[in-house]
Amino acid sequence: MIRDITIGQYFPGTSVIHKLDPRMKIILTVLNIASLFLCRNFFSLLLMLAISVVWVLLSRISFKTILKGLKMILVILLFTAFLQIFYNDGGTVLWHPVESWDFKITTEGVFSAIFIAVRIVALILLSTLLTYTTSPTLLTDAIERLLSPLKVFHIKVHSLAMMMTIALRFIPTLIEEIDIIMSAQKARGADLETGSLMQRAKALVPILVPLFVNSFRRAYELAFAMEARCYGGDGKRTRLRVMKLQGRDFAMLAIALVCLAAAIVTSVVDMGGFFLFEKVI
């Protein structure tokens, strides 16, 4: 059902990953993703995959939950990997059905397909773990602090962060509401599953209209409630939460930097023909 969507969900916990400074967690995620994209060989890719798996283990979130999140992108994953097979035609030919066609499968094609698939999986693991282990309020708070240097350019960092907090806060509410409206219209005989594409698009109207109307109503109510409590984003505000970097934050940063260095060095320096270090992409 629609409620099984877990993107942006937060799983409360007390693991090391949960306790990391959220600012550092964002930086680490960015660094790790950068390393992933700089990977050129299986050695650094496997290193990054190992790091992602260690992160998941440390977070004590069950693999089952994580795999469920992956299920959503399985189609995209397979499709990308499939295309990649034909994108690269170096190496030995494995399958070449019609001699005159340029259509063939080669070892390098297969390797790069595997490479891309693993890279996407690691990417999803790392980025979902950030939201799985950080509450939305902490996350936006951290983003606000990280972006605060931009205030120099008169960018309203605080307002941006508040908008993000509110948007994140209302994702589950919206999902719940879509579920209820869908049920209610189905109870009046709405048919969402059969018919031509046009008919199905039309069948969405009874769901989208109440959804928008209710969202606007809620937005007004929220705005009035905030104004009634004299909310103002511009004034000097003090903070409830103090964020302080600790030993574990620096330890994780060191690991992430080593990985980044490994990814760069192994792709630039010639490691002497050893398979794991051969350039795949």
């Binding site: 799983f11 069950s62 469920k68 209209v209």
Partner: protein, 288 residues
């Protein structure tokens, strides 16, 4: 065989995740044609979930729901057909209005039933009349109506399908006593006009006791009691223990009984309370 028969149904939300919640377990009951059944229970006791199972919106994990001797979840057609025979009006139905005019919104259900244009128009008129929506409102946008009028339009939308079983999930939520009375009168009108079976979900025992023939009490996902209004209220102390909001007069009767006075706690309306108190005083005077 009863008209509507629910056998051993169970249901969990988010099955197979760390958030799994058992909403219902091993619920069985049956409803005869034309009965007026009140369904009460504490917040989260599973009332709404149970009601969505009776019109095949939610498929039970275990157990069966039979309507007229047929399993409503047998196949897709039966399930869809059941939605027209068992009309379900959700909590706060006014948030589900969507059409340009009230008339079109009420006609949404009948249109999905593929009825003829004349038949649809006739049903719209009839149900608007039952809920007391004046004809001049039918051509207004539903978003321009008052809150109470929106609620009526939404209920009319369900009644227009002329369901044999009408289920209303807290139809009077958030209304004042007069508004509540108006809704109850609407349901009564529909019942008289069509002879339909009615299931009314409510937090308010007082409302249910006044209209229903029978009461189902849900507690923590199971059926805790199933009986006539008198049978259920004779166990008022248990109702209070379940955290249900029993009428003030019932509370008084239970407290009197706790004090050791010879009182029947099956009291749920003011006239009953008066006669109970009179009996009590009379007896005391007699013994004194």
């Amino acid at each position: 065989m009863a008209f509507l028969e629910v056998k051993n149904i169970g249901y969990s939300y988010s099955k197979g995740t760390p958030f799994e919640i058992v909403a219902l377990h091993d619920c069985s009951f049956s409803v005869e044609k034309g009965e007026y059944v009140g369904v009460i229970g504490h917040t989260g006791s599973g009332k709404s979930t149970l009601m969505q199972m009776l019109n095949a919106l939610v498929k039970p994990d275990s157990g069966t729901v039979m309507l007229d001797g047929k399993d409503i979840n047998a196949d897709k057609e039966t399930a869809r057909d059941t939605r027209f025979r068992v009309g379900l009006c959700f909590q706060y139905p006014e948030y589900q209005l969507f059409e340009e005019t009230v008339r079109k919104d009420i006609a949404y259900g009948p249109t999905n039933m593929k009825l003829s244009a004349e038949e649809i128009e006739q049903r719209v008129q009839e149900s608007a009349q039952i809920v007391g929506l004046p004809p001049e409102l039918l051509d207004k946008s539903p978003f321009d109506l008052s809150g109470g009028e929106k609620r009526r339009a939404a209920i009319a939308g369900v009644m227009a399908m002329k369901p044999e079983v009408l289920i209303l999930d807290e139809p009077a939520a958030g209304l004042d006593p007069i508004g509540r009375k108006v809704i109850m009168d609407m349901i009564e009108k529909y019942r008289l006009a069509t002879g339909a079976t009615v299931l009314l979900v409510s937090h308010s025992m007082e409302t249910v006791a006044a209209v229903a023939d029978r009461i189902l009490v849900l507690n923590k996902g199971g059926i805790a009691m199933d009986g006539t209004v008198d049978e259920v209220f004779s166990r008022s102390d248990e109702l209070i223990a379940m955290g249900l909001d029993v009428p003030a007069v019932t509370r008084i009767a239970v407290r009197l009984k706790e004090k050791g006075l010879p009182v029947d706690p099956c009291v749920y309306s003011v006239p009953q309370a008066v006669s109970m108190l009179l009996k009590l005083i009379g007896k005391k005077e007699g013994t004194a």
